[in-house]
Amino acid sequence: MADPMKIRAVLDPATGKVEVKVLMAHEMETGQRKDAKGAVIPAWFIQGVTATCNGRTVLDAEWGPAVAKNPFLSFRFGGAKAGDKVVISWVDNHGDKRSDEAVIQARS
């Protein structure tokens, strides 16, 4: 199992929007690189990312191997309040997956 994601979800009371920042731990191997012996290092990358809040999907993404190693992602959504949970899940092309959550904080 991969290392946990770092997730921050902050509600801006002025706009009513939640800004989410996610840092994932993943090699995101492209399948283009070769090792010291000249053998191709097989592709290994996150293919799908889903973010939900209160059971509602707030972002759904498909990624290719061109997303950078240890992917960073930021997005904003409305309709949630401080204390609600944001759940982020990913699945990679090996079928490995990981799901983490964060409680929405109000910006002070």
């Binding site: 061109a66 950078a68 959504f77 079928g95 490995d96």
Partner: protein, 156 residues
């Protein structure tokens, strides 16, 4: 001689099919994602082909799509872009890198209630034009930007 060779081939095929079925059974959720993952779009090698594979007619350049990123990236392995769309009914936002081995890097579905805004980091194999492609109201719009890369993000 010939027929026994055929038998052997058939046998080998059967084993491969069984192995596939087992893998599918063991990795069911991944298999489901692998089936929905738009391989055709991620395999494309040009902006026009990627737009077509994502289901679009040719995209139109639009000032309502804003692509923020560096003019010069020292390290092509990590280049951050922010994409904003001011178009009503923005349904999806994609990032495409023209000179990468495959053009499409990422495609984000934006459900109602989520801002048409996303920040992500991608790899650039070499200096390239980078596109932000937005689907809004069933139509496709884009913004583009040239990014110069000092050290490539792919290859070895």
């Amino acid at each position: 001689m010939d027929s026994s060779r055929r038998e052997m081939l058939r046998g080998a095929g059967g084993i491969a099919v069984m192995a596939l079925a087992m893998a599918a059974g063991l990795l069911k959720p991944a298999a489901a994602r692998a089936m929905t993952w738009n391989k055709a779009a991620f395999d494309t090698k040009s902006f026009a082909d990627a737009v077509k594979a994502l289901g679009g007619p040719p995209a139109v350049e639009s000032k309502d799509v804003v692509l923020d990123g560096p003019d010069i990236a020292e390290n092509g392995a990590v280049v951050q872009f922010t994409i904003r769309s001011q178009l009503l009914d923005t349904e999806s936002i994609a990032v495409l890198v023209e000179k990468n081995p495959n053009t499409l890097a990422a495609n984000f579905q934006i459900p109602p209630g989520t801002d048409a805004f996303v920040t992500t980091r991608v790899k650039l194999a070499e200096s390239s034009k980078v596109y932000a492609l937005v689907k809004a109201g069933g139509k496709y719009f884009y913004a583009a930007k040239d990014v110069k890369v000092t050290i490539g993000g792919c290859g070895g």
